[in-house]
C-alpha cells in the first residue's frame, strides 16, 4: 500500500499480541485504518496516547520497529457501475487481474435505515427452484438463510440462485470459501455469461480469517449503492455466515472479552443483526434481499449461531437429500419463508396458496404412509397413491435442479393431483378445481 509523503511514520511499537499491536500516537480517530509494515490494520482501542491496532492478517513477524502509517479514514469502497462483473478481496481490491475501480469512495458500515422510511416488502423474487418459489417464496427486502450441514451442496445452490434469480444485481460475499469453491463460483459465473450483473467479494481459507469480517460490509456497501443510487433490485448472497461468526469469536477472544453461549461473543445477536437488517425495501423502488448460508454442525439448530440467526432472519431454508429420488431437495416441512404470504396469490396466480398447502399436506400423508410401511403395517390404496405422488412431487418440483416458472410449477402440481387423486380427496376450493383441474386427456 502506498504512503503519502507528508504522512507521519511511527516506528515504535510498544506491545504486540497475536492479533494486535499497540503504539504511542496522537490525533488518531477511532476505527481509523493504518498500515503496519504493509499490513492493513484498524484502530480498536485508544487509551490516551496508546493506540491499539488490530492487524487483519495477524502479527506474525511484526517487529517493534515496524513502520506504522495512519490513513485518516475508515474502510472504504469505491462504488460505481464498474464494480459489475468483478471479483474483489475483503478490502475491496480486485483479485481478477483487472484494473482498479474508479468511482466515489464510500465508507463501509453505513448507518441504519430509519424504520419509518422502510416499505413493507411486497415484490416477489423468483429463483426457478420450486422448493423456494412455490413453497417458500422470497420477497424483495427479505433476509433468509439456508441452514445446511457442511456436506450439503449449498454452494451449488447459491450459485444456481445467483444465476437464475430475477434481480438487477447479484452480489456474492464469500467468507472462508475454499479455493476450490472460489474457482467453482468464478467458473460458473464466467461460463453462464451473467457476469455483467454479478459482483463478488471473496475471502478464501488461504486468507487470514479476521479479514472476512469485512466481507459482508463490503458486499452491502456495494448493494446499497445499486439499491439507493440506481434504484435496482439487489440480491446479496452471503456464504458462510458460520465462518463469519467464528471470526468474530476469534477477535473477541483476542481482545480478552468474556464469551457467552457456545464461546460466541455476547454481542453476536447485534453483530449479525447489523448485517441482516441491511435487507430492506426502499421507498423509491430499490431493494436489498439477503440469502445467506449458515452451516450447522450435525443439524443442531440450537447452537448460538443458527439460533440467533433464526431470531433475526425472516424464515430459513433447509436442504435435504431425498432418498426416493437420490437428489437434493428443499425440505418442505422445516423450511419457512415468513414473508411469503405477502406475495402468494397477490403477485402470483390465485391458486398458489391452495396448491402449495395441498401438495405439502399430501407429502406429509406420504411420510406417514412410509412410517406405517416401515413398522410393518398394511398400506391402504390411498397410502400407496400418496407415496407415488410424493416421488413425482420430489422429482418434478422439489429437486433443486428443476428450473421452471411459477405458473408452470402450479400446473405441474395440478397435473400430479389429477394423476393420483380424486377431486374430493385434495380438498381444494371448488371454484379453483373447476378452473384448473386438468381435463381427462391431459393426464393421459
Amino acid at each position: 500500500m502506498e504512503t503519502k509523503a507528508f504522512q507521519k511514520i511511527y516506528t515504535k511499537v510498544t506491545e504486540i499480541t497475536k492479533a494486535t499491536c499497540t503504539l504511542k500516537a496522537t490525533g488518531i480517530g477511532y476505527d481509523e485504518l493504518a498500515v503496519v509494515n504493509d499490513r492493513l490494520a484498524q484502530v480498536v482501542k485508544i487509551r490516551g496516547e496508546d493506540v491499539t491496532l488490530q492487524v487483519f492478517s495477524g502479527t506474525e513477524g511484526i517487529p517493534t520497529d515496524a513502520e506504522v502509517v495512519f490513513m485518516g479514514k475508515s474502510h472504504t469502497l469505491k462504488v460505481g457501475d464498474e464494480l459489475a462483473g468483478r471479483f474483489f478481496n475483503a478490502y475491496g481490491q480486485p483479485i481478477d487481474n483487472g484494473p482498479e475501480v474508479s468511482g466515489e469512495e464510500r465508507e463501509i458500515n453505513s448507518p441504519s435505515v430509519n424504520p419509518v422510511r422502510r416499505q413493507q416488502p411486497s415484490e416477489l423474487i423468483s429463483t426457478g427452484i420450486a422448493g423456494i418459489d412455490l413453497n417458500n417464496t422470497l420477497v424483495t427486502g427479505q433476509k433468509i438463510p439456508f441452514f445446511a450441514d457442511p456436506d450439503q451442496p449449498f454452494n451449488q445452490v447459491m450459485a444456481m440462485v445467483a444465476l437464475r434469480a430475477q434481480a438487477d444485481k447479484i452480489i456474492l460475499g464469500g467468507m472462508g470459501l475454499t479455493n476450490d469453491d472460489y474457482l467453482f463460483y468464478k467458473n460458473v459465473f464466467d461460463n453462464a455469461d451473467a457476469l455483467d450483473r454479478i459482483i463478488s467479494f471473496v475471502n478464501t481459507t488461504e486468507d487470514p480469517p479476521v479479514e472476512r469480517l469485512l466481507v459482508p460490509d463490503m458486499a452491502l456497501t456495494a448493494a446499497e449503492y445499486f439499491a439507493v443510487d440506481k434504484k435496482q433490485k439487489v440480491l446479496v448472497l452471503l456464504t458462510d455466515m458460520t465462518l463469519f461468526a467464528d471470526a468474530l469469536s476469534i477477535v473477541s477472544n483476542r481482545m480478552d472479552q468474556i464469551p457467552s453461549k457456545d464461546s460466541m461473543p455476547g454481542s453476536l445477536y447485534s453483530d449479525l443483526a447489523k448485517i441482516y437488517e441491511k435487507a430492506v425495501q426502499f421507498p423509491e423502488g430499490g431493494s436489498i434481499t439477503i440469502v445467506a448460508v449458515t452451516t450447522l454442525s450435525g443439524g443442531d439448530i440450537t447452537h448460538a449461531i443458527p439460533d440467533n440467526t433464526g431470531y433475526i432472519t425472516e424464515g430459513q431454508l433447509f436442504l435435504r437429500t431425498d432418498s426416493d429420488i437420490g437428489k437434493v431437495v428443499v425440505d418442505p416441512f422445516r423450511s419457512l419463508s415468513r414473508l411469503k404470504q405477502l406475495v402468494i396469490g397477490e403477485d402470483t396466480r390465485e391458486d398458489h396458496g391452495q396448491v402449495m398447502n395441498t401438495a405439502i399436506r399430501l407429502f406429509a400423508d406420504a411420510s406417514n404412509a412410509r412410517t406405517k410401511l416401515e413398522n410393518g403395517f398394511d398400506l391402504t390404496d390411498y397410502d400407496k397413491r400418496t407415496l407415488d405422488f410424493a416421488k413425482e412431487y420430489s422429482r418434478q418440483l422439489l429437486a433443486i435442479d428443476v428450473n421452471i416458472e411459477i405458473d408452470e410449477m402450479l400446473d405441474v402440481g395440478w397435473k400430479l393431483f389429477a394423476k393420483h387423486f380424486k377431486e374430493a380427496e385434495v380438498g381444494i376450493k371448488k371454484n379453483l378445481v373447476d378452473k384448473y383441474w386438468p381435463k381427462q386427456e391431459e393426464t393421459e
Partner: protein, 589 residues
Amino acid sequence: MSTTGKVSAIIANLVYVEVDGPVGQNEICYIKLGDVNLMAEVIKVIGKYAYVQVFESTSGLKINDTVEFTGHMLEVSLGPGILERNYDGLQNDLDQMDGIFLKRGEYTEALNQEKEYEFTPIASEGDQVSAGAWLGEVKENWVSHKIMVPFKLTGEYTIKSLAKEGSYKVTDTMAILTDKEGQEITVTMIQKWPVKRPIKSYKEKPRPFKLLETGVRTIDSLNPIVEGGTGFIPGPFGSGKTVLQHALSRQAEADIIVIAACGERANEVVEIFKEFPELEDPRTGRKLIERTTIIANTSNMPVAAREASVYTAMTISEYYRSMGLRVMMLADSTSRWAQALREMSNRMEELPGPDAFPMDLSSIISNFYARAGYVYLNNGATGSVTFIGTVSPAGGNLKEPVTENTKKVARCFYALSQQRADSKRYPAIDPIDSYSKYIEYDEFQEYLNENISQNWIDNILKAKNILIRGKEASEQINILGDDGVPIDYHINFWKSEIIDFAILQQDAFDKIDSATPIERQEYMFNKVLNICDFDFEFKNFEEVAGYFKRVINALKQMNYSEYKSENFKKHEKELGQILEERKAEPVSN
C-alpha cells in the same frame, strides 16, 4: 457553569472522559465530533474519569475531543403530542428525521412545539397542590390529557395563576406555582423526567385486583390478567406472537397502548407502522394508532439506545397512568434489552454472571417489572400500567437467565406452544403450562365474585383439570391404541377437546369471534363445563369422535354468531338436541 471534559480513551462505544468538575452517575453528556454531537450516558466514575457509553457509533472520535455534561440523567419530554408518534429509544421522533438513513448525532424535539391545544382548567388559583396534581386538561386525539404539576417538585405549592380556557402551545406558561418561601415556579405543558426513575406521584399502590378484559378467551377465561398486572410470553420464532400482541392491543380494556419494539426485526416494526393506522379501534370506531405510541429501536439500531428504549416506554406509560388512565405496555423483546446490558457490562470488564449476563440482571428485571401496577392517585382517581413482555429464549430453552429471572417477577405466563401453532390451534397459548398467579389473590377473587361471577375461579380450576385429564387420556390412547383403552378415556379426551375448540381456540380474523366480551365468555364457559359434567353413553369408541365433533361444531357455530341472536339460539337448540341423543344426565359429584 456546567462540567466539561476531554476524551481520554475509546473502546468501541465505551469512552473515558477526563472531567473538570462534578459529574453524576447516569448523567447525560454530549461528545463533540466535528459538527455533530454524540449523546452519551455516564455509567461509571473513577477519580477524575467518567466512563460514558455513547448511544451511537464512535467511528472517527479522537483523544481530547471535547465533552459537555448536561447536569441531568436521560430524560424524556412528557406532554400532549406523544400519542400517534413513532419514537426511537431516546424519544427522537422518527418521522421528523430527514432522509432514508438515520444520521449520527441527529436529535429531534419529541413534541410538536407549534401545535395548539384547547386547554380547560381543572384546579383553581389559590389551590394547594403537589407533584402530579391535575391543573387542567387538553384533548389529545380523543384522550383527555391532564396537565400536571411537574413530578420533580417536592412538597406543597400554591397555584398563583392558572391559564384561562383557550388555545395554547406546549411551551406556553400554563400556571405559576409558589412554594412556601414564595419562590415562583413556571409550569408549561411539557415536563421532563429521568427514564430510569419510576414516577411515584400517587398515593397508594395496592395489589392489583381488577380483571383486565382482553376479549381473548384463553386469557380471560383460563389465565386472567389484571389491570396493572404483569405477564410474559416466551415466543419461539413462528408461534404467533405478533398476532397475539395485535389482538391484545386492539381489544384489551386499556385507554393507551405503548409498544416498545426493542431489538427485533425492522420488517416487523414496519408491519406495525403500516397496520396500526389501518386497524379500527373497536371501542371508539376511530383508528387504533390514535391512542398508541410506538418506541422502535430495531436490532440494527444502536445497542445502548436499545437499553434506554424500554425505560422510555415505561416512563411514558407511567405518565399516562398519572392522568387516571389505563395503560397497556407491550415490550418485544426483553431478551434483546438484556443482551444490550450484557454487551455493555462486557465492555466494562465486569465479572460476568450466568451466560455472561451482568450479575445484577435479576434485580434490573425485577425493578423494571415493579414499575407496572395499579395506583390510587392523590386525588382519588385510579390508573394502571399493565405490562406484558416477550422473551426470546436462546435455543427455545426456558432455562436461561432472562426467562428464569422474568419468571420470578411476572405474575402471568403465557406459554406459546410450537406444537399448537403447528396444528393451527390459535392462539397458540398452552393452557396447561401457562399460569396466572392472580387467581390466587383474595382481592381478585372477591372482585370476580362481586362483578362477574361467583364461580369463575372454580371454573378455571375445573377446566384445567379436564384439560390435564384429556392430555393424559390422549397419551394413553397413543400408547395403547384406540381399542386398548376403556371408552372413558376417549370421552375424557374429547371433553378436553371441547374446551380446546370452543373456548381456547379463537379466530383472530373473524369479526365476531375475535373479541369475546366477558359476559359472553361466562355464558359459554358455563355451558361447556356443563357439557363436561354430563355422563355420555357409547357402545364403542368409534362412535365417540364423530359425536363430539358434532357437539364442537354446534359450539363453534355459536361462537361465530352474534351473541343471543336468532342464529345463536338456533345453534344452541341444535346443541341441546345433540346432547339429548346420548341421554345425557348430570354426574352427581
